[in-house]
């Protein structure tokens, strides 16, 4: 055990890095941890950074709010694999006994979080959309959608520690970094050897197209009402004119019109663009949970009763093949200087 006072409530954030790039959800979580810390007397915000030769990323964690970064450096951690990461992080949890531990609900984070929670024997709440401290007993209140977004449940973990939660990218706002913030680096020894790891990566087949719709400022999304894959060329033209990206609702992806990486919603991605244009999307709850964080929603649908209109800043009842070409003309006429970044 460490010699430090074990009673300091530590709020931990897992810093996810791959190929030396930190996933921005890690900073979003540090922002959330800072807010939780304000409601948890005496608490500190700290980051856990496993990898190989990643210590130079620690200053970024300080800028986003960590006062201390635990760097776990070992060649077996160079490429993410479940076992070495789960063992390394679980050991650290057992040693420092954090009060709260937040992990991004990415592919990596979802793979890892359940393994850590099981090793440590604690509770884990997946895909939270809201985190707060219950003022009565100072425990984490982790709220998440369930039953396909039809119901919100606030989950508590009363007696087990840490209280673990995952949050999807873009559910929480990105905090402003504090450029001159500093903190303490704790180098954590970890001595697993490669021959102890039962899984090897043979190769990575990189996807040709990796649209990152989660972080787009403008999204033009199409649904079943677009009618077919050809229609997305028109949505792409509007997206290009606005400097945005094309996305889709689930039926479009199920029909094979667009790749699953562009799907918004419960089983796709969560987005929070400044502008979300929903064309031919009826707006089932499963879709809305993925995009209701947009600043401005413009919906176009032929059906005046489409549920998307209940949340749209402006709803247009009409044919998208009439409205969108007219919008493209207007947008291009106003010479937006946005850049396409597909």
């Amino acid at each position: 055990m460490n010699a430090e006072q074990p009673t300091i409530p530590r709020i931990w954030v897992f810093v996810e890095q791959q190929e030396h790039q930190v996933h921005p959800v890690s900073w979003e979580l540090l922002g959330a941890a800072k807010r939780l810390s304000a409601d948890l007397p005496g608490s500190v915000v700290e980051a856990v950074l496993p990898g190989h030769q990643v210590a130079d990323l620690a200053p970024q964690a300080f800028q986003y709010g960590a006062s201390r970064v635990y760097v776990i450096d070992n060649p077996v951690l160079e490429i993410y694999r479940n076992l070495p990461y789960a063992v390394a992080v679980s050991r650290l949890v057992t040693e420092y006994r954090p009060e709260i531990f937040l992990i991004g609900a990415t592919t990596l984070g979802r793979d890892l979080a359940g393994s850590i929670a099981t090793r440590v024997g604690t509770g884990l709440t997946a895909d939270c959309t809201e985190l707060s401290i219950d003022p009565a007993n100072h425990i984490l209140a982790a709220t998440r959608p369930t039953f396909g977004g039809n119901l919100m449940a606030t989950i508590l973990c009363r007696r087990h520690r840490p209280q673990m939660a995952t949050v999807r990218p873009r559910v929480l706002p990105m905090p402003e970094p504090v450029p001159d913030a500093t903190g303490e680096v704790v180098n954590v020894p970890f001595n697993m050897r490669e021959e102890d790891v039962p899984v090897k990566r043979l190769r990575l087949i990189r996807a040709k197209e990796q649209p990152n719709i989660e972080y787009a400022d403008v999204i033009v999304a199409g649904g079943r009402g677009v009618g077919g894959p050809e229609g997305f060329a028109l949505l792409q033209e509007l997206a290009d004119a606005l400097g945005g990206m094309v996305a889709a609702s689930r039926p479009v992806v199920d029909a094979g019109w667009l790749d699953a990486s562009r799907q918004v919603g419960q089983t796709g991605k969560t987005v929070r663009p400044k502008l979300y244009i929903a064309a031919g999307i009826s707006g089932a709850v499963q879709h809305r949970v993925g995009m209701s964080g947009a600043d401005v929603i413009l919906a176009i649908n032929t059906d005046p009763n489409a549920p998307i209109f209940q949340i749209a800043t402006l709803g247009i009842v009409g044919d998208l093949y009439e409205v969108i070409p007219a919008l493209i003309r207007q947008v291009k006429g106003q010479s937006y200087d946005g850049q396409a970044h597909l």
Partner: protein, 281 residues
């Protein structure tokens, strides 16, 4: 080859409705289905058995007595043995308690006939946690490969497999020792229609029922509510984001509608867009 598949019967969430009066979930009349990802997990196990020239596929589920229906669907698909783990004492289990029960059951199944591979769907559509598969692999201390989309090699003699998994950057190709636990995407195996002899076999099949005490004495401290660190504090229907005006092209004409749309686009302040930063490449 012995494959174990863990499945879950779930309410068809695409049919879940909210009572507008009470704001609560209407569960009555919502059809119970086999979790869609689990159907592909069963199919993957059955196809793997065919590929290696034989073996056994065992399907397990923890759930109410009604979940036996879901097991029978898996027998139709080609599962050889089906076990329903059902007892009121399991009620209220969170993912930690669920992973304990499934892992313990698989240990017992493994002692009878060694298990080479375990399949889970990538997540269940009711809870969407994706936590139980990783929890079971951790408890069994075997390799875990989540989001599996293909089994490139499966070598029982050499005790190794090569599995493709979907990650944000593309497809990761992993070599693993056996036994291994996979959580699968739908692409792992397309679902085929069950042939008539399978349907007949399933009609006669009775799933085994395991309770909390027999034939396996589960640790009462680790099951149900007692074994679950998390509790639901409160549940409520999400407050809808309130919408604004709805206008129609038919009523106002295209020019007026587009002018309003442009005014709304202006509100988003997207001029002078910066390239997206902080994106994982």
């Amino acid at each position: 080859m012995h494959a174990v598949v863990a499945i879950k019967q779930v309410p068809d969430t695409s049919n879940v409705r909210i009572d507008p009066e009470t704001g609560t979930l209407i569960r009555e009349g919502v059809p119970a289905i086999v979790n869609p990802y689990d159907i592909h997990a069963v199919e993957a196990a059955v196809q793997l058995k065919e590929r290696v020239g034989g073996g056994q596929v065992t399907v397990i589920t923890m759930g109410p007595p009604k979940a036996a229906e879901a097991l029978l669907e898996c027998v139709e698909q080609g599962a050889d043995r089906a076990i329903l783990i059902s007892d009121r004492k399991f009620g209220g289990a969170d993912t930690l308690a669920t992973s304990y029960v499934l892992a313990r059951a698989i240990e017992v199944i493994n002692a009878e006939l060694p298990v080479d591979i375990i399949f889970f769907g990538k997540q269940a559509i009711d809870g969407d946690t994706a936590q139980v598969g990783p929890g079971v692999a951790t408890r069994l201390n075997i390799p875990l490969i989540t989001y599996a989309v293909a089994i490139e090699e499966f070598d029982l003699a050499a005790r190794r497999a090569v599995v493709h998994r979907r990650v944000e950057q593309g497809i990761e190709v992993l070599e693993t020792t056996l036994p291994v636990l996979l959580t699968v995407e739908k692409e792992i195996a397309p679902v085929r229609h069950a042939p008539l002899p399978r349907l007949i076999a399933a009609a006669r099949y009775q799933p085994e029922v395991w309770t909390a005490t027999s034939p396996v004495p589960f640790d009462p401290q680790q099951i149900g509510l007692k074994g679950s660190p998390t509790v639901v504090g409160k549940a409520y229907t999400p407050a809808p984001r309130s919408g604004g005006e709805v206008i129609s092209v038919a009523a106002l004409g295209l020019d007026a509608v587009v002018a309003r749309a442009m005014a709304v686009i202006e509100q988003a302040h997207i001029r002078n867009l910066q390239p997206v930063t902080g994106v994982v490449s």
